[in-house]
């Protein structure tokens, strides 16, 4: 017995160690640096879109390109990079679809000025998050809002929400999913200082 430091065992243990909460650098960067730009990005994209669905498609396209390009090396700062990607995407689209009016290209250039400035949105988010969440939840369709409040604020499970609301479980799933993407659109996609 006595004092016998058992090194073999120690090193074996260390090998087994594994930090569970490791997320990729790319994901961390994307969530922290790219997503907060969404409000300005959406404003930018909507100038040349016919409807919201089209803007959502374009947003997805921009994100995919940013992601692909950042796999090799993460660009710093994120902001000019994301908007260069968005701009190139819009220009290609203008070239491809002749229907798009020439103004959108003009708008593109006019908007460039604003793109280089750091946006106020993050500070604003921090300042009145509570109010933002309240406003965001208020804007969900009524049944969807009820499901989200029960799930998010009261911490009920899907099953419990179904019981309380007296609706089927698949319907609860649908409401919750709608709530999730709508909240993302509102929280990320809109300017927080917007006056109603």
């Amino acid at each position: 017995m006595a004092e016998t430091p058992d090194n073999s065992r120690e090193s074996a243990e260390r090998r087994d160690f594994d930090v569970v909460e490791a997320s990729s650098a790319l994901k961390t960067w994307f969530v922290r640096e790219v997503l907060p730009l969404e409000a300005v990005l959406m404003q930018y994209l909507q100038h040349s879109c016919r409807d919201h669905a089209e803007a959502a498609d374009l947003r997805q396209e921009v994100y995919i390109r940013v992601y692909e390009a950042s796999k090799k090396q993460i660009p710093h700062p994120a902001r000019p990079f994301v908007f260069t990607v968005a701009r190139n995407l819009l220009i290609n689209r203008v070239r491809r679809e002749r229907i798009v009016a020439i103004e959108s290209v003009v708008d593109l250039d006019a908007l460039d000025v604003a793109i280089d400035e750091p946006g106020p949105e993050r500070a604003t988010i921090a300042r009145d998050e509570l109010r933002r969440l309240q406003l965001a939840i208020d804007r969900l369709p009524p049944r969807c809002r009820e499901a989200v409040v029960l799930g998010r604020i009261e911490g009920l499970s899907g099953q419990e929400i179904a019981q309380r609301m007296g609706i089927s479980e698949p319907t609860v799933s649908k409401h919750l999913a709608t709530g999730m993407y709508a909240l993302a659109n509102i929280l990320y996609g809109e300017k927080s200082e917007k006056k109603k």
Binding site: E13, Q60, L130, V149, M180, Y181, A184
Partner: protein, 321 residues
């Protein structure tokens, strides 16, 4: 509906699929195969991965924001929340209507089980599930048609749960949640440190408030050490796990344990506390199996085998060089 609200509901098909995955993961029973299916979907294309990241991050933000509501509302906070309060009141009324008045207020069928120093208790539920509570522990447990839930407020417990997919067994330790997926597992809480060891079956470990970044799925032999700021996963062999469960037979099993650790273990069970006088002695490692309630056998072994000095006093046993 305003143009803004229309914009809020605009989503690509990928967004919709990602939202469906996210709500499934957060609100419904989530098994290992579900996790695999999600991972498969995420790997299919970057679009899936990005859409999922985005929705997940937004959902976490709502958690952070919602958490602001929790502290005792000061005046400014109260003023911000009139609508929310109204919703909460409606929800409360809905709950009362749905499940009846009495069960709304803190489950009346909650059982409180407490063990003193050196005491052990076994609780058997109607469905055959068993919970063994170790020394100096507090457990609250409720089992009814709505589900099975236990709160380990203090100490250590071994759960041998009869699986029921409709009513998963949930153990809460502070803000951490362990959800059984057909399981035998050990949970121990020491101050701010939580340890979960899975013996059989599988279980899910997470935190309903989102403070654990992603749920951890435990397999037999997995041991999680959660210190609040860091979660570390290790693996133990079935023999090592059996040693950790020695207390169920009233035994403490040490392998390469320092005297400091051994003393701390004995002190969980006995009023007479083992005190190691100096740091050098505390670092000596020992092995062996002891009765948890018999400090004198341990003290004798330490004296005879390690040549250490043992002084037995009224409420402490001091070990020194």
């Amino acid at each position: 509906m305003s143009a803004e609200d229309m914009a809020a509901l605009a989503a690509t098909d990928t967004d919709k699929q990602a939202a469906d995955w996210l709500q499934r993961r957060h609100f419904w029973a989530w098994r290992e195969e579900d996790q695999k299916a999600l991972e498969g979907w995420l790997e299919q294309s970057p679009a899936h991965e990005i859409a999922y990241w985005r929705l997940e991050a937004a959902w976490k933000d709502t958690q952070r924001m919602a958490a602001l509501q929790r502290p005792v509302p000061r005046r400014s906070a109260a003023q911000l929340w009139p609508r929310f309060a109204a919703i909460a009141v409606c929800a409360a009324i809905a709950i009362i209507v749905a499940v009846g008045w009495p069960s709304f207020f803190e489950h009346p069928e909650t059982h409180l089980v407490v063990t003193g120093l050196g005491e052990r208790k076994t609780i058997t539920l109607a469905d055959g599930s068993k919970v063994e509570l170790n020394t100096n522990s507090t457990l609250r447990i409720v089992a009814n048609a709505d589900g099975r839930k236990a709160w380990l407020d203090r100490g250590e417990a071994f759960f041998d749960i009869v699986h029921d997919s409709r009513h998963p067994f949930v153990v809460m330790v502070g803000n951490r949640r362990i959800t059984d997926l057909g399981t035998k597992f050990l949970v121990r809480r020491d101050h701010d440190k939580l340890s979960v060891a899975l013996v059989e079956g599988s279980a899910r470990f997470d935190a309903p408030d989102g403070s654990v970044m992603s749920p951890v799925f435990l397999k037999p032999g997995d041991v999680l050490q959660d210190k609040g700021h860091a979660i570390i996963a290790t693996r133990k062999t079935s023999v090592e796990l059996k040693d950790d469960l020695g207390w169920r037979r009233g035994l403490l099993v040490f392998k390469h344990a320092t005297l400091a650790d051994a003393a701390a273990e004995f002190n969980r069970y006995n009023a007479n506390k083992v005190v190691i006088a100096d740091a050098q002695t505390a670092r000596i490692t020992i092995g062996g199996t002891f009765q948890s309630n018999n400090v004198s056998v341990f003290a004798d072994a330490v004296r005879d085998l390690l040549g250490l000095r043992v002084q037995v006093r009224k409420d402490e046993t001091v070990i020194s060089r």
